[in-house]
Symmetry: C2
Subunit: 596 residues, 2 copies
């Protein structure tokens, strides 16, 4: 019997004692972000499942795990023998653990959860699903802390003072801007729960989670002060002195609930329901006016400032140099040096780490060979790690965290001679990538409106891809950053107006199940183009700098404008990257970026 | 002093007696549709303003009219000397009469309105704007009936039994389908207030309003019966007998409120807040579960059935013949016969009326010469009626109601030799029209996603148009019919998934203020194309049949695919229209539809 099963038995005995019919374990932490510290990886500890997104429900006789379809194969493997079943909904995205609760909890029952890890949104959905059944929902029930005796400590990285030379704006100015917006919205208190919001506002970075330079903390901004809830030992004396001058008051991390509960209930508080936990929400006094909206720092940091944009430009050169060396090395050693998906990811990371101000990968590198490329979120494990052979399609999606910016780029290359279908697929994806990059559009345009540009060439051939086209990217922060989004949906992201200064990815793709995947991704920056009698027009500038594999292009499928764009892009890549290369690398890049 | 001012004085004395601080007069009727009978044109009677959309607010010392920007010039002219001021918001669409009420009604005040003409949505907005001010809002206050002594009678057209040969589905089947959907949504009663919903469901048509073949009525569908609230004299004995067999029970029109008030409050009622009046809403017993959504007939009738589609095809031929004869006559008589915008509209209507099953225009024809074309909703009046000269740009947007379908088509033609800019503008608009018509897209795509296809060529040149690209069209019903819509918004319409069988307009445009307007509009029908491993794909078929003025095309701006599309379209126009033309007309059309 695997260890996780033992943990399940003990949990079951606890819920029996407490008279709980179902105990819910979300895979999130109190900040409800994408990357969480080991301390909060309860689902992993309980089930052995390593995916980043899941929910577990445990009853006396049942234990189920819900996750999204990209993890189905992995979850089935990892849950084998644990007594926990993977619950696959009959219709994707139609049924989840909330429906299960609605269907299976008997009237008058009792369910429980540690509300620190449950978003307000999910709390409401659960309550609604159980409406009229007189079910008690206890959101203050932490059964794990008692059970998990060898739990990793709370993360203890130290705050780094993120220089204005990198981020371009003093923290005092940012605080002022946030307060201005609060005044406009008649807000007295602004609760910040997203770690990247707090990092941006205070110009600090940390190392509490993998892939994102975050420091575990909460913050409340009011007219006079910024209350920063953080372990004191994480803040240096120098930083603490600076904070003090700006009325940034440090309080213990755990005191956030207590502070929320003493905010006078004749005041107005702004919070984001997607990133605020049920526990925090319940701390707020009844009668307090709560405005639920995207946070002000989220809106402000989405518009990169001039210094950030200049820094991102330099980071793109560094990242491009590492990528060029990587692909040069790969082409010259393929067949002679043994390569696997994992060894390639390591190699690329090692080349990036030669660059200045590099902190680490911005997400788990996807090096996906042949059929693995057809899994959009594939991440090689020792069990799946493919050996790179003499022929095939290799998809590399990777990114770096630098003090002066965050990157995210995908290139797909042919090893050996590609087939006609591979070339056609690649060229259709390339057309989509180029057409979005070339877009000119009026101010006020939203992401859902532009998404078609990346898909049109594929749709015309009866092809498509099942994910969005573009996500926002942070500045030395989360590689996925809202609110902007380019995709077919009509949710908050796709409804967000694209504004000058927004950085977004451009990543159409095609996935042939069991064969290969092709994705081409650049980061593009929105900027102001001409103003006419019909209004202000905007365009994109492609910032990522890495050649695109010409051996996969079927030139007959490209139109004139697309060819001109590609040649100009390649010329820019060569011009900016070549000064940092040695002679063999430079010659190689010259050929790779030559005109088609 | 104009007569309308007298009416204002008498109204003022009435509101003084009743202690009302502000009396609100919407320009709608109890069905909240686009075309209303004269009986309900209270705004016109009170103010002299002839526009289709406005709200009037009258206080002891102030009388204001709010309308949208397309009517500003007309409203200012028509309101001169009436004592009623046109209120133009500082920011378009940002301020309206509701904000005015919020800012001007004093705490403890009293406002009033005839709630039969106020939508639930506006009632809620007004209540919200006055929140916390302790203002009494009386929605049962009809002051007009007393004042308007020579009011036109309630419309009294007789119901026409719309044959299954036209509409393709028996009313008994439609009622069954609505009940099936009601069951799925757990609805006991479905309130229908939109006249086109009722016409569609019962296969009847009327003549109570201009431009739409509607019969004033309400309906409630439950499991056993359809309660039809209609003046008995409008229904023939034959129809009444048929209704009786299907348990369609006729009740006096005025009894709708009374019937709503006796629906048991343990039942569920489905209604549409946009088309249901405050009065009806208030008739429903407290505690009744109300589901607010698009009505079931609205969803069902948006998908045209096989017979309807075949009939629309035939109607397009008839409409195309009338249009061809019109443009032939225009070209051959321009310069010799005196022509004005109004005389052209009359000529076109007279040519349409030669066609079988023609009922009348589907909206007020827009014949707009030169600078008038730059006003998207221009409708010539004797005061504005332009004489057509030897050179210029003429925009004709018109449509017909036929028993076998509804049309809506715009063509823009050059009279004399067009300028290079006019040709460029026309060709860019044409590219947009063609590219939307050529679209191939996966099932699940929404209108906001496709809108870009019609704009891309314009955007690339810094041009744009300020309205949506496509609206749904009824079948011998309203020329504007939801829920589908192709536009940049993310409202209900643009969020509606496009489905096979939906008929929608495709009408990009460009408006050069003070110069001319260019719009090209076809109706296109969504149908199923191939199914691939990536899902079901859909396409459009252009149904409207009328040549596009080649003298306005700059061929160098068209790409190969666009030229192929246009030549194929023109060839289809000639093939389908020419059999109905005389020799000179046929030869003329052959030249007009010849290859480019």
């Amino acid at each position: 019997m695997r260890e996780s099963n033992n943990r399940l038995s003990v949990l079951r005995s606890l819920i029996k004692i407490d008279g709980i019919d179902a105990y819910i374990i979300p895979s999130t932490d109190p900040h409800l972000g994408e990357n969480i510290p080991d301390y909060w990886r309860i689902v992993l500890w309980m089930t052995g499942f390593t995916g980043s997104s899941a929910t577990v429900v445990v009853t006396e006789t049942f234990a189920g795990l819900w996750t999204d379809s990209r993890y189905f194969i992995q979850a089935e493997h990892q849950l084998t023998g644990t007594g926990i079943v993977l619950v696959k909904p009959a219709f994707p995205d139609k049924t989840d653990f909330i429906d299960w609760l609605g269907n299976n909890i008997k009237p008058g029952g009792r369910i429980a959860c540690d509300g620190r890890t449950l978003s307000i949104g999910n709390m409401r959905k659960i309550t609604k699903a159980l409406d009229g059944k007189n079910v008690m929902f206890d959101t203050e029930c932490d059964l794990i802390s008692v059970l998990w005796t060898d739990r990793p400590p709370m993360p203890l990285s130290v705050a780094l003072d993120h220089s204005v030379e990198f981020c371009g704006k003093d923290r005092s100015l940012k605080i002022m801007e946030v307060r201005e917006q609060m005044k406009k919205q008649s807000v007295d208190y602004h609760l910040l729960t997203s770690l990247d919001d707090i990092m941006w506002l205070l110009n600090i970075r940390g190392n509490d989670a993998k892939y994102s330079p975050l420091l575990t903390s909460f913050a409340i901004v009011n007219e006079q002060q910024v209350l920063l809830f953080v372990d004191e030992s994480k803040i240096s004396l120098k930083l603490a002195t600076d904070f003090d001058k700006l009325d940034i008051v440090m309080l213990p991390y755990e005191e956030i609930d207590g502070m929320l509960s003493v905010i006078p209930n004749d005041s107005t508080i702004l919070l984001t329901p997607e990133t605020t936990s049920a526990s925090l929400y319940k701390s707020i006094l009844h009668g307090t006016k709560i405005i639920e909206d995207i946070s002000i720092p989220t809106r402000l940091k989405a518009i990169k400032n001039k210094t950030e944009i200049e820094n991102i430009g330099r980071v793109m050169v560094k990242d491009g140099v590492a990528l060029t060396r990587f692909f040069f090395w790969l082409e010259n050693n393929s067949g002679s040096v043994a390569m696997t998906e994992i060894s390639l990811a390591d190699k690329l990371n090692s080349l990036r780490s030669e660059q200045e101000n590099y902190l680490g990968p911005s997400f788990s590198t996807i090096a996906a060979y042949n059929e693995h490329g057809a899994l959009p979120h594939y991440s090689a494990t020792p069990g799946t790690d493919s050996v790179i052979e003499a022929a095939g399609i290799l998809l590399i999606d990777s990114g770096g965290q630098y003090l002066d910016g965050t990157t995210d780029i995908t290139r797909t290359i042919a090893i050996g001679k590609p087939s006609a279908q591979q070339k056609k697929d690649f060229t259709l994806v390339l057309k989509g990538m180029i057409n979005l990059a070339m877009a000119k559009f009026p101010a006020g345009t939203k992401g859902c409106h532009l998404d078609l540009l990346a898909r049109k060439a594929l749709w015309e051939q009866g092809l498509n891809y099942g994910h969005g086209t573009g996500h926002g990217v942070g500045f030395c922060l989360n590689v996925h950053e809202g609110p902007q989004y380019i995709g077919p949906g009509t949710g908050t992201g796709s409804k967000t107006i694209l504004e000058p200064g927004m950085l977004v990815s451009d990543e159409p793709a095609i996935y042939r199940e069991g064969e290969y995947g092709i994705r081409i991704e650049n980061l593009i920056l929105c900027y102001e183009d001409e103003e006419t009698e019909f209004g202000q027009f905007l365009k994109f500038d492609a910032l990522s700098l890495c050649h695109i594999d010409k051996s996969l292009i079927d030139i007959s499928l490209l139109d004139r404008k697309e060819i001109v764009w590609l040649n100009a892009y390649h010329s820019e890549v060569f011009e900016k990257i070549s000064p940092y290369l040695n002679d063999p690398e430079r010659l190689w890049l010259q050929e790779k970026t030559g005109e088609i």
